[in-house]
C-alpha cells in the first residue's frame, strides 16, 4: 500500500499513552495496521511509556498477591498462538483493517448504511462518547459540507479517494486535522469513497446550509 498521508506525532503520543477516545484509537490502530512507518513511530512512544512506568515510585502490593497468582499458574496454561490469533480464522476481507474487523463481520457493502442526505450514508460504531465514530460513505462527485472542528478529526480512507484543501487522500491514507483547518472534502474517485472517521468534539459547519442541516447529520 502506497501511503502518503500519516498520523500527527501528537496523535501517536496520545494513542500510546492510552489517552485517545475509543473512536480515535480505532482509526489510529487501523492506520497502524497498514503503515509500517507510523508503526515504528508508535513503538518509540510505547517505549516512552515503558520508561515512564519504570520511573514511577512503587506502590505497595498486598503480600499475598504473588502467592495467590503462583497458586493459579498451574491451572492456567499459557495462551497458545492459535488461541490468540483466533481472529485470523475468520474470513479476512482485505478491505477492512484488522482492528476494525473486531466490530464488523461482513463486507463493507453488506453493512446497513443509513442515509444523511442523497449520496451520503453512514454506519455508526457500537459505542457512544463525545464526538462521532463511524464509517462514512460518499458517492463520486459529492462533497462533505464545509466544516472546521472544535477538536481533532481523524479520517482514514478504506475505499476510493477524496481531495480537500490539504491534499489528495487514497486508500490507507489518514487525514489528521484539528481546529486550525477548515476543509470541504470532495470525492474524486469513480467509486464511492468509504472512510473510517472519528472526532473528539462536534464539527463546526461553516456555511449557513451546513449549520441548518447539522442536527440531521449526526455530527
Amino acid at each position: 500500500m502506497n501511503i502518503n498521508h500519516h498520523l500527527d506525532d501528537a496523535t501517536l503520543v496520545s494513542y500510546s499513552a492510552g489517552a485517545l477516545s475509543q473512536g480515535m484509537a480505532l482509526v489510529v490502530a487501523s492506520h497502524l495496521s497498514v503503515c509500517p512507518q507510523c508503526r515504528q513511530r508508535a513503538e518509540i512512544n510505547d517505549a516512552v511509556g515503558g520508561v515512564l512506568l519504570e520511573s514511577l515510585e512503587s506502590e505497595t502490593v498486598s503480600d499475598d498477591m504473588l502467592a495467590s497468582i503462583l497458586t493459579q499458574l498451574d491451572d492456567l496454561p499459557a495462551e497458545t498462538h492459535s488461541a490468540v490469533s483466533g481472529l485470523t480464522r475468520k474470513t479476512i476481507d482485505p478491505e477492512i483493517p484488522a482492528p476494525l474487523r473486531e466490530y464488523i463481520d461482513c463486507s463493507l457493502d453488506q453493512l446497513e448504511w443509513k442515509r444523511i442526505v442523497p449520496g451520503v450514508t453512514y454506519y455508526d460504531m457500537p459505542w457512544e462518547g463525545r464526538g462521532v465514530s463511524r464509517l462514512l460513505r460518499i458517492a463520486p462527485g459529492k462533497a462533505m459540507l464545509a466544516h472546521t472542528h472544535n477538536g481533532n478529526e481523524l479520517t482514514m480512507v478504506l475505499r476510493g479517494s477524496f481531495s480537500d484543501e490539504v491534499g489528495h487522500f487514497r486508500r490507507g491514507d489518514v487525514a489528521d486535522l484539528d481546529d486550525q483547518i477548515e476543509h470541504q472534502p470532495l470525492v474524486d474517485s469513480e467509486v464511492d469513497c468509504i472512510c473510517l472517521i472519528a472526532t473528539d468534539a462536534p464539527l463546526r459547519f461553516t456555511t449557513l446550509f451546513g449549520k441548518l442541516v447539522q442536527p440531521i447529520t449526526g455530527f
Binding site: G18, L56, S58, A67
Partner: protein
C-alpha cells in the same frame, strides 16, 4: 526500592537483590520466560514490576481496591502472554506498559482499546537489537527528565493521567494547538534520541 518487595517470603523465591538489577536484566528474564514457563523467574519479574504497574494504575485514577485487583490481572497476563514477548523488539518495561495500559483502559471503559496487535510486532521491521533497546531506554529516561517543564507536563498528563488533547487544553487553559505543539516538540526530541542523532544533554 523504598517499599519492601511484596511476597518476598514466598518459597524463598527471591534471592537476588532487586535493586542491583539493570533494566536489560529484566528483558533477559522476561525473554527466558517467553521461551520456558518458570515460576522462580516469574516471581522476580513480579516483585519488580507489580508495584510499578499498580502505581501506574493508581495514577490513571483507578480506586485503590480496584487497582489491586487490576494489577493482579495485568501480572497474570504477563505469565499468560509471555510467549509473545520478543526481547529484541522491546524492553520488558515497554511490553509490560502496553499490557497495563490496554487492560486498564478495557477495565475503565468496558471496551477493548483498539490495538494494532502485539502479534504484528514480530512482523515489524525493528532494527535495534536488545542491548540497544536498553541503552535507548536509559537515554530516553534522561531525556524525559530534561524536557522543558511545559513539554514534560503534557507528556505526563497524557501517559499518567490518560488525558486527551482537549482535556489538557481546558485544564491548562491554553489552546488545543498549543497542547499539540508541545507534545510534538517533546516527541521530536525523544525521536531524535531514538534515531541516534546528536542531542545535547
Amino acid at each position: 526500592m523504598k517499599n519492601r518487595p511484596p511476597g518476598e517470603d514466598v518459597d524463598n523465591i527471591v534471592q537476588l537483590n532487586q535493586a542491583e538489577m539493570a533494566s536489560s536484566d529484566w528483558s533477559d528474564l522476561l525473554g527466558s520466560l517467553a521461551v520456558k514457563p518458570d515460576k522462580h523467574i516469574y516471581a522476580r519479574l513480579f516483585n519488580h514490576f507489580a508495584p510499578k504497574v499498580k502505581a501506574y494504575i493508581v495514577r490513571l485514577g483507578v480506586a485503590l481496591s480496584a487497582a489491586e485487583e487490576l494489577t493482579q490481572e495485568v501480572m497474570l497476563s504477563v505469565w499468560r502472554k509471555a510467549h509473545m514477548y520478543h526481547p529484541e523488539k522491546a524492553a520488558a518495561s515497554t511490553w509490560i506498559f502496553t499490557l497495563a495500559r490496554n487492560q486498564s483502559i478495557d477495565w475503565m471503559r468496558k471496551q477493548k482499546y483498539p490495538q494494532y496487535s502485539l502479534d504484528e510486532w514480530s512482523e515489524t521491521a525493528s532494527e535495534s537489537g536488545q542491548g540497544e533497546q536498553e541503552v535507548l531506554s536509559d537515554r530516553v529516561a534522561r531525556a524525559i527528565s530534561q524536557l522543558p517543564e511545559k513539554q514534560s507536563q503534557v507528556i505526563y498528563m497524557s501517559y499518567f493521567e490518560g488525558r486527551s488533547h482537549g482535556d489538557i487544553a481546558s485544564r491548562l487553559d491554553i489552546p488545543l494547538g498549543s497542547v499539540k505543539s508541545r507534545i510534538r516538540l517533546a516527541s521530536e526530541k525523544l525521536k531524535q534520541i531514538w534515531g541516534g542523532e546528536e542531542y545535547e544533554y
